[in-house]
């Protein structure tokens, strides 16, 4: 990863140009050709460093979601995680170090649908999910400042 990659990652997490050829605008600011910007972003995406160029939505402005968690014994974690992952409404799923150890986000078009998915996960895994919907959001997302060492 070189200086150009770092600038691409750092300087365009917000205020991305909403113009017909945005990668050309990035190229002008970085002093490289549009095609090079697209090539670099594609490589960074291939490496998994860039998730996507896109939008972060305010929670619950589009559809409904909840954070859910299961307390699953170690021997059963892989089986349960695979079942949870298979639901298209699940968009994050992490193992965490706690008795309540499988943590995932369920997003769907309505509260009722989110509830149905949690019920289906309960039925399919045998473990009852904790349903922890957001009550208040204190964070203002300005992207994440990267510190290069």
């Amino acid at each position: 990863m070189d200086a150009l990659d770092r600038r691409l990652l750092d300087e365009f997490q917000r205020a991305f140009p909403l113009s017909p050829r945005p990668y050309a605008v990035l190229g002008e600011r970085l002093g490289v050709a549009e095609a090079e910007v697209r090539r670099r972003l594609s490589l960074l995406q291939g490496q998994g460093v860039v998730s996507r160029v896109g939008a972060v939505f305010r929670p619950h402005s589009v559809g409904q979601s909840t954070l859910a968690a299961l307390a699953v014994p170690d021997f059963d974690v892989e089986r349960v995680a695979a079942i949870v992952n298979a639901f298209p409404e699940v968009n994050h799923n992490y193992l965490r170090e706690h008795v309540t150890n499988i943590w995932f986000v369920v997003a769907a078009e309505s509260v009722e649908r989110v509830r149905d998915v949690l019920d289906a996960i309960h039925a399919a895994t045998g473990y009852p999910p904790l349903d922890l919907p957001m009550i208040e959001d204190f964070h203002i997302d300005l992207g994440f400042p990267l510190q290069w060492t």
């Binding site: 460093v49 939505f57 992490y94």
Partner: protein, 161 residues
């Protein structure tokens, strides 16, 4: 802002991100028959209204060497949780800060913060400093490091047109 069906159609195609093409706003509109200028105008309007919180390059912390992340949780009295949540959210190391319901007896915590760092020790130090700085030492508390990622996707649930 009330989202129209056309906004929701756009939200749905945006879930996988903008293509890396010369005219990405034109290309992303094709499957929903939305012209480029309308795509841009709707994204701008949703951003201005705060429905889109930010639009840009979305990085994955773990692949950038921020390999440690923890969810720090506290049990804060209801009358104080908003003030303390606002203070914690102001720290640059805190990437998300939410109030959520307690689920007794299994889950007594109502304030959730995500903290990312280069390694586990970094994250532990950050959380200790936050606790000291804001006087949280007396509250019931847990730190849940993530040990494995099963899935990470940018999907939002739009009504698919």
């Amino acid at each position: 802002m009330d989202l129209s069906d056309r906004d929701l159609a756009l939200v749905a195609v945006l879930a996988d991100g903008l293509p890396l093409t010369e005219r990405p706003f034109a290309d992303i509109g094709i499957p929903i028959a939305m012209p480029e200028d309308e795509v841009i105008a709707r994204i701008a309007a949703m951003t201005a209204a705060g429905v889109i919180r930010r639009f840009g390059v979305i990085v994955r912390h773990r692949e950038l060497g921020y390999s440690a992340n923890a969810m720090a949780v506290w049990n804060i009295p209801d009358e104080r949780v908003a003030a303390i949540g606002a203070l914690l959210a102001d720290s640059p190391e805190v990437t998300l800060c939410y109030r959520r319901p307690r689920r007794l007896p299994d889950w007594p915590y109502n304030l959730f913060c995500m903290v990312h760092g280069r390694d586990r020790a970094c994250v532990e130090t950050i959380i200790k400093q936050l606790s000291l700085q804001h006087g949280l030492g007396g509250f019931q508390h847990a730190v849940l490091f993530s040990s494995k990622r099963f899935k990470q996707r940018g999907a939002v649930s739009g009504k698919v047109a």
